[in-house]
Structure formats: structure tokens, C-alpha cells
């Protein structure tokens, strides 16, 4: 009993706003996954909401563990972790399970599997935090900047190859904001952003111009295929621009999600009463995962959707608050990375459900059904807490 006392004391010092908002979101996730699968039941023996509950409990264990483990110990092994993540990303391309036209999973046993790309987010965050905080390295030149960029580009390329554009895209703002916070000149970052925009413009041009200009599409397609762009990306973008082009096909999810959210109105139709969801207009395959926000917005209305948004704002804000108070650069960088990762997931996912962005397949942290990301999200939050309970400078380094 006595041996636990200092750990419990440490836990008492944690960032409670972060914990409370994360727990609230997780509970909401379980409740609305229940609602999203209510009408048709689950094809598996264990209903989805129950499985999500177990994921969440596992997540809490991970959370406490990552809180107690000193983040500096993790940083010490950042290189190994990074190499392992890259190895897994390469492995998934070889032995991964294909779902929805992409190779994202490594099956461990039966239906249990992991998504290496989710863990890669943490690995890259840790590795980048360490390398950006290396003492004596001036970040003002191009060379050190590009060296660190290469750290990000390798896993991004592997994730693109799966292909999983949404996840790949998350790495870039995460890395960019970590660099920005650590003092890289904004002009340099702006240059990189402009270059990135030019690159995406080139991809979009290759996707749509040959057809518009009525020239051969094969060479452009081959080039696009090599960088991981598939036909369904093209259709998703088309479906975003004009959802009525093929309302039963690509544009369907977007239209139905908008109708679900819009018809929810101010206070919503009530829990288990979301007709868009119950009648299957919001497709049952995506309602508990990528479109869980539509279910909440339909059943709880504007009040509910803004409440969820506020909880995420609180979550992200308290992570950044910890970043501001962090005792060292690596802690600050880790918290920034976690906040950025969560923020972009939330922003892109919500924008997608309300029709502001194309359908990308990025889950909503803590809310969307899924084990890998649930664990990763809690681990990331645990790292923030690990920084938070060690704010005082005089605290000696201990692994746990």
C-alpha cells in the first residue's frame, strides 16, 4: 500500500480538466455507438458499444501508465520506437489485411488487429520532440529543418502507400506546429506550406485535368498510383464538390450526414431517436466510426454538437496549457504534438460530417468506434499528464 502512495500523490497533481473532458467524451462515445448500432444490432457476438467500453477501459490503463512513466524515459527510447513503427508500417504493406480497399491492419489473432499507422503518430511525435529539442542545434538553417522533415516524410510515404491519405495528412500539421512552437521561423514554414500546396495542386491537376483537357489519362494515373492516390480519392473529391452528381454513391455519406445534422435542429431528436441513423440513411457501416458526430448532432441537436466541440476545445486547450508550463522543450513539444494531433482529427472529422471537407476517413478521437486509436489517444493524453505532473523543476528524474 505504501509503495503506491507517491504515485497516487503524483496522479493527484494531474491536469484534471484534461481528464474530465476526455472521460466525458469517451462516455458519450460509448452511448452514441450504442445508438448508432441500435437499429440493426451487431453482427459480432459482442455489441460494438460494449467492445468500445472495453477499449476505453484498456485506454484508461494505458493513460495511467503513460502518466506515471516519465516522458523523458520514453524520449530516451524514441529512436527505437520510431524504427519499430516504421518497421510495422512496412510490414503492414506486406502482410496487412485489406479493408475498404486499403491495407491498414495487421491481424494478431482472429478479429483482433492493430493499425500501425495510429501508433506511428505517437512514435513520430516522440522522435521529432527529441530531435527538435537536441541541445546546441540551431533550427534556423534549412539543413537541420529538412533533416527533421525527412523523419516525418518516411512514415508519411508508407502510410500513403496503404493508402490512407487522411492519416498521412495528419503528420504534416503535427510536425509543422511542433517546429513552429520550437522556434523555426514562420517564413520557412510558410515556404514549406506553399510548396505543399503546389504539390497538392499538381496532384489535383493530374487527377482532373487530363479528363477536362481530353488527353491521355494513363501516364498521370500511373504517377498518381505510385504516390498512393486511388480512384476512390478522385471520386470522394468529386463527391465533395458536387454531392448530387451520384447521390447514391460517393456523395451519399456527405448528403446523409448533412441531413442528419441539419434535421437535428436546436435540441435534436433524442437519444435512440435519430431517424437518419435508425432508418439507415446514415450508412450503418460508418455511423459508429467516422460519422459518430453526425449521430450525436442528430440526436442531441446544436446543443449537443456544440457541447462535444467545447469538450474537445477544453481537451486541446488544457494540453496546450500544459505545454506552456512544461519544464523543458521536449515536454512542451510532446504536449504540442498531442494537442495538434487531436485538434486536426477533430477539425477534419467534424468538417467532413458537416460537409466542409471531403470524406477522409479520419476518426473522431475518443468518440469513434475503434480500439487502436482509442489506445493511442489515451496514451497521448497520458504523455501530456506525464509532463503535467512533472512541471516542478526540482523533481528528480525517475523512470517511474
Amino acid at each position: 500500500m505504501r509503495a503506491w502512495a507517491p504515485h497516487v500523490r503524483k496522479l493527484g497533481r494531474m491536469n484534471w480538466a484534461l481528464t474530465v473532458s476526455a472521460l466525458a467524451l469517451t462516455v458519450a462515445g460509448v452511448l452514441f455507438i450504442f445508438s448508432a448500432t441500435y437499429a440493426h444490432g451487431s453482427r459480432n457476438e459482442l455489441p460494438m458499444h460494449e467492445r468500445q467500453l472495453y477499449f476505453a477501459l484498456a485506454g484508461l490503463v494505458v493513460y495511467v501508465a503513460f502518466t506515471l512513466i516519465d516522458y523523458r524515459a520514453l524520449l530516451r527510447y524514441a529512436g527505437v520506437i520510431y524504427m519499430f513503427a516504421v518497421f510495422l508500417l512496412a510490414l503492414v504493406l506486406l502482410v496487412g489485411t485489406v479493408r475498404y480497399g486499403a491495407q491498414r491492419w495487421i491481424r494478431i489473432a482472429g478479429p483482433i488487429g492493430v493499425q500501425p499507422s495510429e501508433f506511428a503518430k505517437l512514435a513520430v511525435m516522440l522522435f521529432l520532440a527529441r530531435s527538435l529539442a537536441l541541445p546546441g542545434e540551431a533550427l534556423q538553417g534549412w539543413r537541420p529543418l529538412l533533416k527533421r522533415l525527412a523523419v516525418v516524410v518516411l512514415p508519411v510515404a508508407l502510410v500513403l502507400k496503404q493508402p490512407d491519405m487522411g492519416t498521412a495528412a495528419i503528420f504534416l500539421p503535427m510536425a509543422g506546429l511542433m517546429m513552429f512552437v520550437e522556434g523555426v521561423r514562420w517564413q520557412k514554414l510558410a515556404t514549406l506550406v506553399v510548396l505543399l500546396c503546389l504539390g497538392s495542386g499538381l496532384v489535383l491537376g493530374a487527377l482532373f485535368l487530363p479528363e477536362k483537357l481530353d488527353v491521355a489519362q494513363a501516364p498521370a494515373q500511373r504517377a498518381l498510383g505510385w504516390i498512393g492516390v486511388r480512384d476512390y480519392h478522385r471520386n470522394r473529391i468529386l463527391g465533395f464538390v458536387d454531392p448530387n452528381r451520384d447521390p447514391r454513391g460517393t456523395g451519399w455519406n456527405k448528403i446523409q450526414s448533412q441531413i442528419a445534422i441539419g434535421s437535428g435542429g436546436a435540441v435534436g431528436k433524442g437519444w435512440l431517436q435519430g431517424t437518419q441513423n435508425l432508418l439507415g440513411y446514415l450508412p450503418r457501416s460508418v455511423a459508429p466510426t467516422d460519422f459518430i458526430y453526425s449521430v450525436i448532432a442528430e440526436e442531441k441537436g446544436f446543443v449537443g454538437s456544440v457541447a462535444v466541440l467545447s469538450l474537445f476545445a477544453l481537451l486541446v486547450g488544457s494540453a496546450l496549457w500544459t505545454a506552456m508550463k512544461a519544464r523543458d522543450a521536449t515536454g512542451r513539444l510532446l504536449c504540442t504534438g498531442v494537442a495538434t494531433m487531436l485538434f486536426f482529427h477533430v477539425w477534419v472529422n467534424v468538417s467532413m460530417t458537416i460537409g466542409l471537407m471531403p470524406v477522409t476517413g479520419l476518426p473522431l478521437p475518443l468518440l469513434s468506434y475503434g480500439g487502436s486509436f482509442m489506445l493511442v489517444a489515451w496514451a497521448a493524453l497520458g504523455m501530456v499528464q506525464s509532463v503535467h505532473i512533472r512541471l516542478k523543476r526540482d523533481e528528480a528524474f525517475q523512470i517511474v
Binding site: 529539442a133 448533412q258 435542429g265 476545445a313 506552456m324 522543450a329 512542451r332
Partner: protein
């Protein structure tokens, strides 16, 4: 330490990041406000549009009653077995649901001992196109099969649970309790084309809410069913369904009951109608009976007829083809759509036209030698030896051709045509039925136009005895006779007593039926021709003699104790290279206070009007007047 030097820089940078993220969240909140508050109604509308289906329900069809309230057309319940597809849906491809439903139909057929009526394709069509509606596996089940369905729990082989989604449905089927009686007047119904209601919208819902599905409804295809279809049809109702993303029924959201169609009260009297049809039995012909006081049509018969019940449950192509190919053309309504040379019946028109002409009186006499020559063409009297000198009344009684040749030439064909036209010959009478024809009243202009020839004296001779191009319908002859009986008033023949355009929401048909013997409804007067008393006296007297004089051509129609006026006719025509004749008779009774006019025509008759038509007319008149029926039906040929 490095952190010392960069302490202040990260803070403003982090603050900027925090501000930007907060701004981004606020932006999302703004977008949510736009969708969930500002445009919520539009999205709610989108949701309703994609998930609501309106189904039109037909109203109960109005009944058709005879003047005494007897149901000539009614509705009967028809029980069927319905399959609620949404309760049998299978996950995966829709074809699996089709197969499953088909399997259920097989199980049902086995359990009920019925032959399967729905093909696999019919099941597929329903599941693909009409998914939210129940599928009718059998219609019109007999009681035994129905009882088996209600009592047995239909299960899958080896299964324990009852197959879900099965129920009994009731549909309304049109039925004609008297069978073929008045078939041509009543008409028949057929499955209505939903296109008909395409523009109709659900009055309770938003203005643009038209129906998505239409429950099978019938519409009148002929006769009264067609002519009064709007009245009988009533006002359709509907129900609102919520369907899921695959189009299966989720639940019923609301219902608006249809408003039943109004009953129709006809002037027809089923007893007189039955007597008329009975007298025509085995012949091709038509009977019209009407009330000369107001034009009420109490019988309107045409033979051969058909059983309209055969149409109600759907007629096979073979039966339909047989009806259409029948040389007797049973679908033609001869009483209003058959065109016949009126023969001697038309002499009444010539007589009136002459008498209304100053200079010719009842005493006008011509000598009949049996033949009348125009140019070098002889026009003969039906009595070869001639009638000798006759005055008008006698000429009518004897139906002397030569007398009317002379008379026609004397007054000229224009006067005859004018009088015929005033009596409605060559025009539609305006009875409330489709399929009425005009007939043909030839004049000089017609002959110039059609034959490119001048009107000649021979044409006048033919016209004077109701031959030549002249063609009339039995109904026109009845209207003409009614005018003679009532003193010169031409009424529009009337079949519908209620509801009428001038009184669309008045007394209900049934109430009116049980007071109709006392309530005498004013007729629809087209013209009062204002004939001189002498004219009427002569023509009516001649017609009285036709029946009652010893040598009258229509003496076989004579009634016991009731005086009747009449006129026989026999018109020659050629068909298939053979000489044939129409046997006609028109009559009204009682002579002093006429209540009924009866006209009968028989095609391809074995004898003239006096022989073939007169006894039949008598039978109908006896029925109409409520007299004991005499048994004599036919007799010796007396000519006409």
C-alpha cells in the same frame, strides 16, 4: 539549458497556436449554427422527402340503385393474403429477400392447398418497385381457404416459429347482383391507370406532396360506371409511410380516410328492365321505355348483353377477344348506339309535319292503288292491291305507303326534315351515357355533300316511309313518341335521378328512392313544339286505331282494359346479300293519361313489326303498368 533561452518565445508561439485552434473551433460552431439552426427546416424537409412515402387509397365506390332503391351495382369484400415484405427482409442483396419471400409464397400455397398465383418475377417486381406496400399473394380467397389461413400457423419446414409478416387483407370488388341486367346502362369497371391521379396531391400535406404509390383502384370503363365515374369514385384518401434507406416500410405516420363515392339513383325500374330483356331474349334488338311526362328512362335494354361481373375481377384476354369477335356485338348498346331505318314509325313525323302545315288537314285524302310512280320508278305500298282512298287517321292505322308518298311530295321534304329535327332525330338526345349516336337525318345539303347529287322526288318518297338514308336510334323514337303522347313536349331522356348537377348534394339516392313514387321530378324540357289540337287528335287517334281497330297493324299489342296507342314498322335492309328486316313498334299507355312509352326494335326479325314486335311490347307494357301478364308472345304475320 536550452529551455531557459527560449522560454519566452514558445509562450507567444503557443498562445498563437491556442488562439488559432480556438478560432477554428468557433468557425465549426458557426458552421453548425448555420446547418442546425438557420437551415434546420430545409434539412428536415430533405429528410421528410427521402423517408416519407405517400400511398393513395381509393374510396369506396358509390352504388348504383334503380328507382326503387334496388342495388344494381354494389361492392363486396374480397379477402386475400398479404405478405408484409419488410418483416421478411434478408440482409445482403435484395435478391435474397426476393428468394425468401418467394419461398414463403410456396409454403403458403402448400399450407392453404392453393395453387401459387404469384410468379417469382411478380415477387421481384413488387420487392423492387413497391417495397413499402404489402404484397398480395392471393386475392378473392374462398371461405375454406380463408379459414385455413386464419387457423393454421404457417411455418417453415422444421421451423418452430410462425412465419411473420402474413395477414388477411380486404379489398372491395364491384359486383352486379342482377348479373347481366341493364349491363349496357350500368357498364363495367376496370383497373384504373394510376396516371389518372398523378397530378392529385394529398390535401393534408404540403402543397407539392403527390403520391408515391397507388393502391389498386377501379374506374368506370363503360355505361354509367364511366359516365358518372367522378361521382361514384369519391375522394381518395391516403397514408403516409416512413421508409428506411432501403425503402422498406418502417412505420405508418398518418392516415387520411377516403370519402366514399356517392350512390347513384337511376330512373331505371329493374322490373320493367327485366321484362324488356326477357322479351328480347334470343334476338338481337333493343327496348326503350320512358315516362313521357318527364323523360325518365325506366328501361333501356340491348341484346345480346354480357355479364359485367366478369370485368370486375379482371377479364382474361380470351374472354375479351370473344366478346369483341361475337357477331352479335354484345358490347354495343343498341338502344342508344344502334342506327336503324325507322320504317313506318317515321310516318308519324310526316303526318305531324303535314298537319302543322296550313292547307292540309286531317281530312286530306289520297287514293292508294298499291303503287306510286315517280318518273318511271314505281314506289309500292306494302299492300299490293292498294288501300283505296284514305284520310289521314286511317292512313296511319293502315300504315299506307302510297298515302305518305303523296303527302310527302305535297308538303316537300324540307318540312319533314324540319319536324324530324325538332323532335331530335339526327341529334344526340343528351342522355347521360357515352356511346350515343346521332343517326342520320338526310336533307338536300347532305345529299349534295355526300353523294354530290340533287335531292329528288324519289328521295322524298323514301324519306316519307322512313327508308333511304334515314337512320334513327331506338331512344330517338322513344323521345318522338313521348312528344306525341304528352302533347308536343320534347324531353331530354333522363337516367340519373340523383345526384344531379342542379342538386349535387341534395337528398341521398336511397332516401329519394323510397319516396320516388310520390316525388315526381320535373323533366328537362328541350322544346315545346306547340302542336294544334287537331294535329294531336288525328295522330294520336291513328295510333289508337293501330292497336285497337279490327285491322290495326299493331292489334297484337292490345291490352286488357287499358287503351294504348302505337305504331308498328318494318324496315327492309340488305346484309350479306340477303333481304332482312327490322321489326319495330312504338306505343304509349294509358292512352288518356300516358305514363309509359315503350319502343322495341328487333334485328333480322322473322316477321314484321305487327307480328314480332307488338306482342313483346305488350308484355313490357303490362309489366310497366303492373297488370297481370298475358301469356301470348308471338302470333301470325299480319304485315305492317
Amino acid at each position: 539549458m536550452a529551455s531557459n533561452e527560449s522560454k519566452s518565445a514558445p509562450v507567444w508561439r503557443l498562445s498563437l497556436v491556442l488562439a488559432l485552434m480556438t478560432g477554428a473551433f468557433l468557425f465549426l460552431a458557426g458552421a453548425l449554427w448555420r446547418i442546425q439552426i438557420r437551415d434546420a427546416a430545409a434539412y428536415q424537409g430533405d429528410f421528410n422527402r427521402q423517408s416519407a412515402r405517400r400511398v393513395r387509397l381509393p374510396a369506396r365506390r358509390g352504388r348504383i340503385l334503380d328507382r326503387r332503391g334496388r342495388r344494381l351495382a354494389d361492392n363486396r369484400p374480397s379477402y386475400g393474403v398479404a405478405i408484409y415484405v419488410e418483416e421478411l427482409r434478408q440482409p445482403g442483396r435484395i435478391e435474397r429477400t426476393v428468394e425468401h419471400v418467394s419461398e414463403v409464397v410456396d409454403r403458403l400455397a402448400e399450407a392453404l392447398g392453393l395453387e401459387r398465383e404469384l410468379s417469382e418475377q411478380a415477387v421481384r417486381d413488387h420487392v423492387v418497385r413497391q417495397r413499402p406496400l404489402p404484397l398480395l399473394a392471393w386475392r378473392d380467397l374462398d371461405e375454406a381457404a380463408l379459414a385455413r389461413f386464419v387457423e393454421s400457423h404457417v411455418k417453415f419446414p422444421g421451423g418452430k416459429e410462425r412465419i411473420p409478416g402474413l395477414d388477411v387483407t380486404v379489398e372491395s370488388v364491384r359486383v352486379y347482383p342482377y348479373g347481366a341486367l341493364a349491363a349496357h346502362v350500368l357498364g363495367y369497371v376496370g383497373r384504373a391507370d394510376p396516371e389518372r391521379w398523378r397530378g392529385e396531391s394529398d390535401a393534408d400535406a404540403e402543397s407539392d406532396a403527390t403520391y408515391d404509390f397507388y393502391k389498386p383502384a377501379v374506374e368506370g370503363r363503360s355505361g354509367m360506371e364511366r359516365a358518372m365515374d367522378r361521382t361514384l369514385q369519391g375522394e381518395g384518401g391516403g397514408y403516409l409511410l416512413q421508409v428506411d434507406a432501403l425503402g422498406f416500410k418502417h412505420e405508418e405516420l398518418g392516415r387520411r380516410e377516403p370519402v366514399a363515392g356517392r350512390d347513384l339513383l337511376l330512373a331505371l325500374d329493374a322490373d320493367i328492365q327485366a321484362a324488356a330483356e326477357q322479351t328480347l331474349d334470343g334476338h338481337i334488338g333493343a327496348v326503350v321505355a320512358l315516362d313521357p311526362r318527364n323523360g325518365d328512362v325506366v328501361a333501356l335494354a340491348s341484346t345480346p348483353a354480357y355479364d359485367p361481373n366478369a370485368f370486375s375481377v379482371g377479364m382474361s384476354h380470351r374472354d375479351w377477344a370473344r366478346l369483341n369477335r361475337d357477331p352479335g356485338r354484345p358490347l354495343v348498346h343498341r338502344a342508344i348506339g344502334g342506327v336503324y331505318a325507322p320504317g313506318s314509325l317515321f310516318k308519324l313525323v310526316v303526318a305531324i309535319a303535314a298537319l302543322e302545315n296550313p292547307g292540309i288537314g286531317p281530312a286530306q285524302t289520297y287514293d292508294c292503288s298499291g303503287v306510286f310512280t315517280v318518273g318511271n320508278h314505281p314506289f309500292r305500298c306494302w299492300r299490293r292491291q292498294g288501300h283505296g282512298p284514305l284520310a289521314m287517321r286511317k292512313a296511319i292505322e293502315q300504315s299506307c305507303n302510297v298515302y305518305f308518298y303523296e303527302l310527302g311530295i305535297a308538303i316537300g321534304h324540307e318540312r319533314i326534315v324540319r319536324m324530324a329535327d325538332a323532335l331530335g332525330i339526327g341529334r344526340r338526345t343528351g342522355i347521360e351515357l357515352g356511346g350515343e349516336t346521332r343517326g342520320l337525318l338526310p336533307d338536300a345539303a347532305w345529299k349534295r355533300r355526300v353523294m354530290n347529287d340533287a335531292w329528288r322526288a324519289g328521295d322524298t318518297c323514301n324519306l316519307s316511309i322512313g327508308q333511304g338514308a334515314l337512320g334513327v336510334t331506338p331512344l330517338q323514337m322513344a323521345v318522338m313518341t313521348a312528344a306525341i303522347a304528352n302533347g308536343g313536349r320534347v324531353y331530354r331522356p333522363r337516367l340519373v335521378l340523383s345526384p344531379r348537377p342542379d342538386n349535387p348534394r341534395g337528398q341521398s339516392a336511397e332516401d329519394l328512392a323510397f319516396s320516388s313514387d310520390r316525388v315526381f321530378m320535373k323533366g328537362d324540357l328541350i322544346a315545346d313544339l306547340g302542336w294544334a289540337p287537331a294535329t294531336l287528335e288525328t295522330v294520336q287517334g291513328g295510333m289508337l286505331d293501330v292497336v285497337h281497330a279490327a285491322a290495326g297493324t299493331g292489334s297484337r299489342a292490345k291490352l286488357d282494359g287499358v287503351r294504348m296507342a302505337g305504331k308498328t314498322g318494318t324496315a327492309q335492309y340488305r346484309r350479306d346479300g340477303e333481304d332482312r328486316r327490322f321489326a319495330w313498334m312504338t306505343g304509349y299507355a294509358p292512352f288518356d293519361q300516358p305514363r309509359y312509352v315503350v319502343v322495341i326494335v328487333i334485328e333480322d326479325a322473322p316477321g314484321g313489326g305487327g307480328l314480332v314486335a307488338a306482342p313483346r311490347l305488350k308484355h313490357i307494357m303490362e309489366t310497366a303498368l303492373g297488370m297481370p301478364l298475358s301469356s301470348e308472345r308471338t302470333g301470325r304475320d299480319t304485315g305492317s
